[in-house]
Amino acid sequence: MTEKVLFLNQKFDRPATLEEYRENGGYGALALALEKYAPGQVCDLVAESGLRGRGGAGFPTGRKWLSFAGRKQGPRYVVPNTDEMEPGTFKDRVLVNCDPHLVLEGIILAAYAIQADQGIFFIRPSYEQDAQLIEGELNRAREAGYLGKNILGSDFSFDIEVHRSAGRYICGEASAQVRAIQGYRPNPRKMPGLHLTERGLWDQPTLVNNAETLACIPAIVSRGPQWFKKIARTPSGAGTKLFCVSGRVVRPGCYELPMGTPLREIIEQEAGGMLPGSEFKACLPGGASTRFLPKKQWEVPMDFESLKKIGHQLGTSSIIVFDHNTCLVAATINLLNFFVRESCGWCTPCRDGLPFMRHLLLEIEHGRGKEEYIPMLRSMAGQMRHAYCAFAPGAAEPVLGLLEYFEDEVREHLSRGKCPCRFSDAGGGFRRKQCLT
């Protein structure tokens, strides 16, 4: 049995209560930090643990926190990011429902570490039940003295309120999220040389962290950064990770496993292997913004560095599994449908380039493709890296994966003048319809 950090109090049928959380040592880390550690020391602990952001980009959390030293005082904000709109990703929802106080304690510790005054729990509108759960648990934490003025008798004061998103994928991007909270149009905004940690919400220093990232903090504080780092199965990883497995597997679900667990092991052991009659063809290893990963690579340990080495990304570690019956051109169109719809419309490559790419793929899927479409797709997908934010490069990843590992399948569409998978797609009525619209 592997060590649990995030699902320690998992009850499967209901969220863990405040009492249950405390019985297992909950809020001990907060008490410890307030008593023993200066804010900067908490940042150092997190930096030492090797924790990297769980929202997809994998930025070293400690480094982000340490950059607050020397930033202007006045109101500072922590924004726990629970927007979670990456297709195939549902870990934050499971986490919040499993152990809400673990997330809350992580937020409060982060706030202490960067000396924030206010937390704004940014949550996706379709997670309304979860928003209400958090609001209820916030009240309990407040009554218990974990939030509000002079937390646990210290001179540190901090409170959290829940902000429901209006519900767009781009609101998960940190700078867009900050603008959304302020009531502006959620276009990502960059100012050269200026980060959210310097000028974020209302021009004040702001920390935006994924909910799962924050949930790792209590364990790092209470059990030490070295312990946390060593849970991982690879030297480049740290801690555990929530893997969301979906697609043609026996037991789709959210599994907490050590960082660096091999992909094959996750699919074959945790998710129970492929459905009867299905063969593994490819998967998206980290949500819709990552490349298709073919079977020849499925021994890869799932951590940021190991995937990067073979040209892939861990992303949100949401593994979407496709079987041998699935047309990957159709699957890519399905993904692009999402990205074309969700582009914020700010920059040209994303706004106009993605619909162009989808159009080319639709032509190919419908048997009207031309030879020149393949280099066009490759070139356009490559140009996406010069878009304004990380959205368009992410959207281009499945296309690049398709062309890198499954070009033969694409060419078969051209040579046959129709989709080669069309009639062999056994149970995939749903998928067929999706790709044809």
């Binding site: 920059c347 356009m380 140009q383």
Partner: protein
């Protein structure tokens, strides 16, 4: 100062310069769509991508988002950058309609230029284009959303730069839509700038729609005449009609933009009813014949009643050349010195401004943008001079505190504090505010005279609430480092102008580099103010006419009936004249009443020099050669390919030429017939030497003296601190953004936007008079009864009745008393200067 290499050329630029601007300095125009220097960089279109080959930044980057740094080596022609930019064009063009042949932007379209220069000539996208419904955005701007390439320039200008919220961006992804929530006229008085900044044809000039290609226009640099700011424009004429104007960049004046009054106000030059025929005693006559007869009659009158029986009235819209000629003519013919203002208060205010403004004090619009505290007194910026509001907004965006002290319910597109004070209280309130500030900041640097002046200033106003607000604003002023006072002259008298200068000087002695910005009543009011020296004001002239001392009046480009409050008196006085000679291009009431009428030429035909409110002399070039617009003489057929000698091609001489002709007939000979106007300048005119170079530098010639010779901080001021007597109302005739200015009120699209005129009254006064909001009131104006709807608001000073100058009031000034429903307001008549705001009492 970073030193970098762009396309193998070396350049050093100031720190903070973006690479796209650095390249522009080298003459390398990196393609762009979203980037506009004045709006800043946002990196949305990705069109300005260049390759950074060496230095702190590497790889393909947007040149608008990267600041120049030492050691950079940039290639704008790197194959990867060129390929990427070409790809951007293709993406932008997938939805763009191929309607260039019927698009008014065609030929000066940035998208067209970049598409051609980028080599995108073959369409690879075979899918359907997305289409949008268009909106009716009012009479000025035509909307055509299908052409949109989503560069965000329009909303960034409209919302961020100009501060209006009714046009914005909606939707996401490739369906984003720029427009309003529903059809309707754009609320911003700066909406026409959308046309200039849109890189394609989404927003086009509606009044000139389908009239001409821009490259077919006769275009010339012009100056806006619709207020005193002197914004720079490019006017475009076609078949003898001025059909559109665009903004012309001048960083000393208007920056990059102009207001809609300036952009669309030119219709007066093309009017079908514009007088083109000279008249002699009501009958058509040849121009020379009429002018010769005028000279003969002037000679007769001078012989019979003396030279001083002849008077001259110019205007603040005369070109400086015309004003100089008027001064020269009346001097040498020994007539009375010329007057330029019908309104005595405006004449005195302008005189005060001209006497007091010097380069120590004077601020231009760009200086206001940099101020950290702005105090506007007697000014309603959006209505008086819209571009002033835009400049003030830029200061507000940078964090400046802004206070407006005015009786009117001033509205501005940014956060500010409105301190409501009655017209009579303005000087005292201004003095209290500055006294508070100077006292707080300390009077260490002050000399005895300054201290005495400060001590003599009132320390209180009677209104407790206003006193508190003034104290607070005084604190802000004391804490500011770059304050500026903005002083109007439209409603307030000359006392305010003088006081504002004194107070600005007082602040300067306290080591605060405070600046001063005046508004003036007319595009060349400054010139009029310089050249009216020694003359008495029009109201006294009117008395002399009534008494028979003046028998001939020569009116040049002015209409006394337009603004003079007592129409009946004016009418009867002018009726006593032996000779009323009018020279104008407007179909004015004075023109109709003239014994001898000579048609004039507008600035678009004659050109001319104008001095703006900051003392900047600028030249407007002629745009076309004159004559009746071909559309009006061609009977609706296609204009002839060869014009001359098409009917209507006779052009009207400019006022300057007409006066020169008259001078010759009167045997007053300037050195030669084509003499430079500057050789006629009176010797006491300042800055004469500089003027001899004509035309001046394109960004204007600053005329202000270094130090004003006028006495300052002299008399301890005696300012009224009490409001009007209980129950009395001060009547204010005010300017509106649209529909009240003498020239632009002829423009039909602007009239549509002006709406019906409203009379404004404070709630307390309305209660006393027993009138309600929305009630139609009947006013007697110039002998005609006019209905005005009443608007009751508490966002104004009590004790004032505010009525707009408005074309719908027959372009006649309003003589109050008026019958106000139940309460009859009885006004004062027969005063020497009824143009000053009058106290009228309820009976």
């Amino acid at each position: 100062m970073p030193y970098l290499i762009i396309d193998n050329r070396h350049i050093q630029v100031p720190r903070g310069t973006t690479v796209i601007d650095a390249a522009e300095r080298l003459g390398i125009m990196i393609p762009r769509f979203c980037y506009l220097k004045v709006l800043g960089a946002v990196g949305a279109c990705r069109m300005c991508a260049v390759m950074f080959e060496a230095g702190p930044v590497k790889g393909l980057q947007m040149s608008c988002m990267v600041q120049a740094a030492d050691g950079m080596r940039v290639s704008t022609t790197h194959p990867e950058a060129v390929a990427f930019r070409r790809q951007i064009i293709e993406w932008l063009m997938i939805n763009h309609p191929h309607d260039c042949p019927v698009c008014d932007e065609g030929g000066h379209c940035l998208l067209q230029d970049e598409t051609i220069s980028g080599g995108h000539s073959r369409r690879r996208y075979t899918g359907a284009k997305r289409t949008y419904p268009d909106q009716d955005l009012g009479p000025l701007v035509q909307h055509e959303m299908n052409r949109c390439i989503q560069c965000y320039r329009c909303v960034r200008f409209y919302q961020e730069y100009a501060g209006y919220r009714d046009l914005g961006v909606m939707g996401i992804a490739s369906r984003i839509y720029y427009g309003r929530f529903s059809d309707g006229a754009l609320e911003s008085p700066f909406s026409g700038n959308l046309i200039d900044i849109c890189p394609t044809g989404v927003y086009t000039d509606r009044p000139s729609r389908f009239l001409a290609r821009r490259w077919d226009l006769q275009r010339a640099d012009s100056i806006c005449l619709h207020c005193s700011l002197g914004c720079n424009t490019v006017a475009g004429a076609h078949y003898r009609a001025v059909i559109r104007q665009e903004s012309r960049e001048n960083v000393r004046v208007n920056g990059s933009f102009i207001c809609d009054r300036g952009r669309y106000g030119h219709a007066y030059a093309n009017l079908a009813e514009r007088p083109r025929q000279s008249r002699l005693d009501g009958e058509p006559a040849g121009w020379r014949e009429a002018a010769r007869e005028a000279a003969a009659r002037l000679k007769r009158i001078a012989a019979a009643a003396g030279h001083s029986a002849i008077a001259v009235l110019g205007s603040a819209r005369n070109s400086l050349e015309t004003q100089i000629m008027l001064r020269y003519l009346s001097h040498h013919a020994q007539w009375r010195p010329p007057r330029f203002f019908v309104n005595g208060s405006e004449a005195r205010s302008t005189a005060a401004v001209v006497a007091r403004l010097d380069s120590r004090l004077a601020a231009g619009l760009p200086d206001l943008e940099e101020a950290d505290f702005l105090l506007a007194v007697g000014v309603d910026p959006v209505n008086d001079a819209p571009m002033l509001a835009l400049a003030m907004r830029q200061a507000a965006r940078k964090g400046a505190k802004i206070v407006v002290l005015d009786p009117r319910p001033v509205e501005l597109p940014f956060a500010f504090d409105l301190l409501s004070a009655g017209l009579g209280d303005l000087p005292a309130a201004l003095a209290v505010l500055v006294k508070t500030a100077v006292s707080q900041a300390g009077t260490d640097g002050c000399e005895a005279q300054e201290k005495a002046f400060l001590a003599a200033l009132p320390g209180r106003v009677p209104d407790e609430k206003l006193q508190g607000q003034l104290g607070q604003a005084g604190g802000w002023l004391a804490a500011s480092r770059r304050p500026a006072i903005i002083c109007g002259s439209a409603i307030a008298g000359p006392e305010l102008a003088g006081l504002a200068a004194d107070l600005a000087l007082l602040l300067q002695t306290g080591k605060t580099p405070s600046r001063l910005f005046y508004l003036l009543p007319g595009p060349n009011a400054f010139g009029a103010g310089l050249l009216q020296r020694g003359s008495r004001y029009f109201p006294s002239l009117l008395q002399d006419i009534e008494k028979g001392g003046v028998r001939a009046l020569l009116v040049v480009e002015n209409d006394p009936f337009f603004r003079y409050p007592d129409q009946d008196r004016l009418h009867s006085a002018l009726g006593k004249l032996e000779l009323l000679m009018v020279l104008d291009y407007l179909p004015s009431r004075a023109a109709r009443a003239a014994h001898i009428f000579l048609p004039g030429a507008t600035v678009f035909e004659a050109g001319g020099s104008f001095i703006n409110n900051c003392g900047l002399l600028q030249y407007a070039a002629p745009v076309h050669e004159g004559g009746i617009p071909l559309a009006q003489v061609s009977g609706g057929s296609h204009p002839p390919r060869a014009h001359a000698p098409a009917p209507g091609s006779e052009k009207c001489p400019s006022a300057y030429e007409a006066l020169l002709f008259l001078a010759n007939e009167l045997a007053i000979r300037p050195p030669t017939m084509d003499a430079s106007p500057w050789s006629l300048l009176p010797e006491d005119f300042p800055g004469q030497a500089e003027l001899l170079a004509h035309p001046y530098p394109t960004d204007g010639l600053q005329l202000l003296p270094r130090l004003s010779e006028a006495e300052s901080l002299q008399t301890p001021v005696n300012l009224p601190t009490s409001g009007p007597a209980a129950g009395a109302l001060t009547v204010l005739r005010v300017e509106q953004t649209f529909g009240s200015e003498e020239l632009s009120c002829y423009a039909e699209p602007l009239r549509q936007l002006a709406g019906p005129p409203l009379a404004l009254l404070h709630g307390a006064d309305a209660d006393r008079a027993g009138v309600r909001d929305g009630e139609q009131l009947c006013f007697e104006i110039g002998g005609e009864k006019v209905e005005l709807a009443l608007q009751v608001t508490n966002r104004m000073a009590p004790g004032q009745l505010i009525i707009p100058h408005h074309y719908a009031l027959g372009r006649a000034a309003c003589r109050l008393p008026a019958v106000v429903a139940q309460a009859e307001l009885r006004g004062l008549t027969g005063q020497d200067s009824p143009d000053l705001p009058q106290a009228i009492t309820e009976s």
